[in-house]
Symmetry: C2
Subunit: 192 residues, 2 copies
């Protein structure tokens, strides 16, 4: 997605440890029109598949899932990282390890909003080692729902997540694929 | 906002302790087209004011802030409830008490995204005792930014938040104003 890649080059920053900081336009501060273009691009890439609901994880996935849901005209659901006091105890749960933050956390989704046979498009902002997406896929599996595909805004192709997902036979579409962040330089993978 | 009120009557549930559960269409599961209509309504109500940025708080405010930001064509920024490992330590911070969950939490916003003189529209999903909005207003104040207004999706008029904000001279616009949840019945305040 050319407009996204250009924006990453313009406003993204590479930190040590292969971290790409995009929080001036995708996280923390979000450009709503870019988020919309991203949602529309996910729609264009997955419109040939069955999508009943968009599934994401708080916080950073919500904006892009919402915009994709707008074009698919389906509800979005997001897994929570902490059990809120208001939430039903009747939830699907899974433990996820974050390599970025080096913590484990629980994700949960109310059973009320995910049913057997639902066709899900999973959307998230980043794909690195794939732990969050695998956690969401496990929740889909618990519900006996079908994962039609996984849409990622920025894939770090030099980490293991994309290979793990493709080996599982998942249809993965990433809007910007980063080949390398070595020497603080952002190198995209060209069309493949 | 009539379509919102009708949806609350249709899909909202009243729990004990004056809790209104709307997580099948506004939180946890979100109807993207309703979120868009909400964003557009905020735009219509505040389009006469100066708005450079939309400010909200994770998680539930993000969808509505994003949609409002789309119509205002300005960035959105959201305060985080926990310091992420990736985030700069150079942040505005405030402590907020949640009466619903009976916990205190820290909200923080990178100084990078909020500047002196910025005109902010604060948006959140619920207004009860006003703690989250007051926390955001304090962060705006730390940055010497101006709060042009506060837009709320659902105001619980029987709790103290709206009175506190109006006494502070804040321009408050709530899209659905709930007068009472007594006896598990949702009573809206009529036009006022």
């Amino acid at each position: 997605m050319e407009v996204l890649k250009q924006r990453i080059l313009k406003d993204g920053h590479v930190l040590e440890d292969n971290i790409l900081k995009v929080d001036s336009f995708l996280n923390h501060q979000i450009d709503p029109h870019l988020a919309f273009d991203i949602g529309k691009e996910f729609y264009n890439r997955f419109k040939d598949t069955k999508v009943d609901k968009i599934l994401t994880i708080e916080t950073s996935g919500i904006a892009f899932a919402l915009c994709a849901g707008y074009f698919f005209n389906v509800p979005i659901i997001f897994a929570k990282k902490h059990n809120g006091a208001n939430m039903s105890t009747d939830v699907y749960q899974n433990n996820v390890h974050s390599y970025t933050k080096n913590i484990d956390y629980t994700i949960s989704l109310s059973k009320q909003f995910l049913h057997s046979g639902d066709n899900l498009l999973i959307i998230d902002d980043f794909l690195a080692k794939g732990q969050a997406v695998l956690g969401l896929m496990d929740i889909a599996n618990q519900a006996n729902a079908n994962v039609s595909g996984v849409g990622i805004v920025i894939e770090k192709a030099f980490q293991s997540g994309s290979e793990i997902l493709r080996n599982l036979g998942v249809r993965l579409e990433s809007l910007a694929v980063i080949e390398s962040l070595n020497n603080n330089k952002i190198i995209f993978r060209e069309a493949f």
